[in-house]
């Protein structure tokens, strides 16, 4: 059985980009601040389009923002 998880570097990237606030990122990505909070906390996996928009907001590639990790659980 496999358990997949989407890790992100949003928090780090925000601080590296002039301590960008969640609201500023939300405005750039065209979503609500609550969605950024949920993504940052790993509670919500964004759509591919939104993931690209977030990456564009930081001027980086999508894999620099999101990392897919698959953990294998032993039964």
């Amino acid at each position: 059985m496999a358990n997949s998880e989407l890790k992100n570097q949003i928090r780090r990237l925000r601080f590296e980009n002039g301590e960008m606030t969640q609201q500023q990122l939300a405005e750039r990505a065209g979503v609500t601040r609550q969605t950024i909070i949920a993504i940052e906390a790993g509670k919500y996996a964004p759509s591919l389009t939104l993931a690209f928009r977030i990456a564009h907001a930081f001027s980086v590639t999508i894999d620099q923002v999101f990392q897919y990790e698959e953990e294998k659980l032993q039964d």
Binding site: A26, E27, G30, V31, T32, Q34, T35, I37, A38, Y44, P46, S47, L50
Partner: protein, 137 residues
């Protein structure tokens, strides 16, 4: 806004139930049905968009909100389906295959299903946002 829907729905159901029971004790059926007029309280929920006005130029709904709303709608309709199913099956098992019920139950079942959908939808929204609403961290 989901909180407003939950509160108005609960208030409407409780007030109607109290009124129907009180009227039933005083006048009996069918006059007690008039107590269902209190279901109109649920209509206050319809004023939600006027009370909680959208801020212009600001993103107020995105893909996550749409997903949450879609899941909540599914939960609402699913709950209503279960309720209608239960309401249809209970008389069958209680009264037997040859039993009969008054057709006045039909609009009540219809209304109950509507209220149930509305209520379950609102609760599902609150559960997904974590009770503290969209503004909660």
């Amino acid at each position: 806004m989901a909180w407003l829907f939950v509160i108005t729905t609960v208030l409407a159901v409780v007030a109607s139930a109290v009124a129907v029971i009180w009227l039933y004790g005083k006048f009996g059926m069918p006059k007690a049905v008039a107590g269902l007029a209190f279901m109109g309280i649920a209509g206050i929920g319809g004023l939600g968009p006027l009370i909680f006005k959208k801020e212009s130029g600001k993103v107020t709904c995105d893909e996550r909100d749409t997903l949450i709303n879609r899941r909540a709608a599914l939960a609402g309709f699913g709950t209503a389906y279960m309720l209608v199913g239960a309401v249809c099956m209970v008389p069958f098992f209680v009264l037997g295959p040859l039993g009969s019920i008054s057709v006045t139950w039909l609009p009540m079942i219809f209304m109950g299903a509507g209220i149930c959908t509305f209520f379950a939808h609102s609760v599902a929204i609150l559960l997904q946002y974590g009770w503290r609403g969209k503004n909660g961290k």
